[in-house]
Symmetry: C2
Subunit: 340 residues, 2 copies
């Protein structure tokens, strides 16, 4: 029986949408248990509104809530009875296989490293959201807190990202590329130039070379490797350009009677297209390389996204991703040792 802990108090729509998502997950999968962490009475009241198998949902009381604005390190250290700390500790102790939170990004990143802990051999756990492309989705790795990364970190991101895309998302032999300012090997900043030959020589990944930012939305690679600062810029610009274009298109359509009538006719189709290109629709961003999966879902997640994030954790466990990451890094370590 796979058990996933879920932060019932985090995010803009908590607890309502979070609890609803948990109920939808257990109604879809009879072989799992969800542990909702948070204020027991509040969660209970929400749960009473739904029909589900009572044995599949537990409440684990946590009296405190970490707010979005709080300094993460402090919050994790001091609010020991918060829904995030309680959930992460369950993963740490092996009482849960994964943890999903729509709460404070900072607290989830810090908590993942400090409480859940890294798999042996992992230098830095990357945050790796799935981003929409013309062809489906790509994994953008890293968008987390690892600024000023070293080449060896980026190589591990490529390895972990490949395992994730192959076994959780189901893309065979995923194409790995490094974000660069030109297609040629000699282009780039110091970090990229140093990382490029390491990726080329790395066994077990399908490295296709550099990717220019222009090609990312076209689906030019499945695993997009970059350091966190650049990843963060890519992720947020994706959102920003999308939102701005939508708002400008809407405004543009109100300029003439002809376009106003047209706008009414295209509304459903346009909505559908825009939705498929909204990064927040693809469930959660996994924080990889930890002893147990931690998934950060968007702050404004609805029940569907929470459910998808729970299902994501299940695939992760079923596919034994952590074991695969451990093996992969161990192979690499052996090669390094032999080379020394």
């Amino acid at each position: 029986m796979i058990k996933i802990a879920v932060d019932a108090m985090g995010g803009d729509n908590a607890p309502y949408e979070i609890v609803k998502g948990a109920v939808e997950a257990v109604n879809e999968r009879k072989d799992i248990t969800v542990c909702l962490t948070g204020q027991e009475d509040v969660i209970k009241r929400e749960l009473d509104k739904h029909t589900y198998n009572k044995e599949q949902i537990e409440i684990v009381n946590a009296s405190e809530v970490i707010e979005t604005g709080e300094p993460p390190v402090n919050a994790i250290r001091k609010k020991k009875d918060s829904s995030i700390v309680v959930g992460m500790n369950m993963v740490k102790k092996g009482e849960a296989d994964g943890f999903v939170s729509a709460g404070s990004s900072g607290a989830v990143l810090v908590g993942g490293q400090v409480l859940v802990g890294r798999i042996k051999g992992v230098e830095r756990p990357p945050l790796a959201p799935l981003i929409p492309t013309e062809k489906g989705v790509s994994l953008l790795i890293d968008c987390g807190a690892n600024v000023d990364a070293r080449p060896s970190h980026l190589v591990q991101f490529a390895q972990m990202g490949s395992i994730y895309m192959e076994h959780v998302v189901g893309i065979r032999n995923p194409r790995v590329a490094i974000v660069n300012i030109g297609a040629e090997e000699e282009k780039g900043n110091t970090l990229v130039k140093e990382t490029f030959p390491l990726l080329k020589a790395c066994p077990g990944i399908n490295f296709i070379g550099s990717i220019e930012a222009r090609e990312i939305p076209h689906g030019g690679a499945d695993v997009i490797v970059c350091e966190a600062f650049v990843g963060n810029v890519i992720l947020k610009l994706y959102e920003g350009v999308g939102a701005t274009m939508l708002s400008m298109v809407k405004k543009g359509l109100m300029t003439s009677l002809r376009s106003k009538i047209g706008a009414l006719l295209i509304k459903p189709a346009l909505k559908e297209t825009m939705k498929s290109f909204d990064a927040s629709q693809y469930g959660g961003a996994p924080l990889l390389g930890l002893k147990g999966l931690v998934v950060k879902t968007h702050g404004n997640s609805t029940a569907t996204e929470v459910k998808n994030s729970i299902i994501q954790c299940i695939s992760f466990k079923e596919q034994a991703i952590n074991e695969k990451i451990s093996e992969c890094l161990a192979v690499k370590e052996n090669i390094n040792h032999q080379a020394e």
Copy 2:
């Protein structure tokens, strides 16, 4: 009389659109001269198709052409009789006030530094394209070849960018922001953390703090300061997300009869909106900090963009931007000397 050199051979639409753009520029401004550099007979044949004041356009013969794929340093060194090298040398010798090229970006960047040369005090000349936003345009500085920049470079970018936006684009007291992964001062990588207090202390600029990538398309600042790797990612992702969304919207509109009819009605309005959000529509990207303005226009520039780039050079000269940059950096140098 202001004289602008124009590379008649560079870009996808050369020489036709370039020559046409030069003719449009002189027909609009009776007080300028344009020198077209390139193969004399080819240019002459194009010019013969147009009506214009013969005294306002000169041809300066240059027998060679630098192709887009050529390694820039080599090309600049070896092709001494190319349209780019000849044009840049005119600026260097003071025979022209500015130079416009739609040719090889690499060659323009290298040529600008090697041939035209930097203004005294400028550490690195940044390439600063105007990018479209919801509110108008912002200057993205730097998108050039200065990877692995130092904090002092970024401070100069902020100063030069402010002068450009105020005096060429006409934005009073332009808001300067540094690209960051969060709004707080303590966020960011080493470069940003070191640059932030320097920008805060820098006299003569209107520094408003950090800008997250999400806010760039909304027009959150007028001068967007970043190092070239990040700037390149922003510029190209802008293009990529825009192009992908447009193609997905088009595809989406073909899914039902209703939306197909709607699509016909909105076509003109949609085209207009998309055009206003196309980064390539805003003429050229100036390479700042050189002894004379060098403007790189998009490779697929049409006559209108070439004309706009020429006009850009004229404002630059009329507003004595280089003198303003020199003064501004000299003031800063004095402050530094006093502090020592």
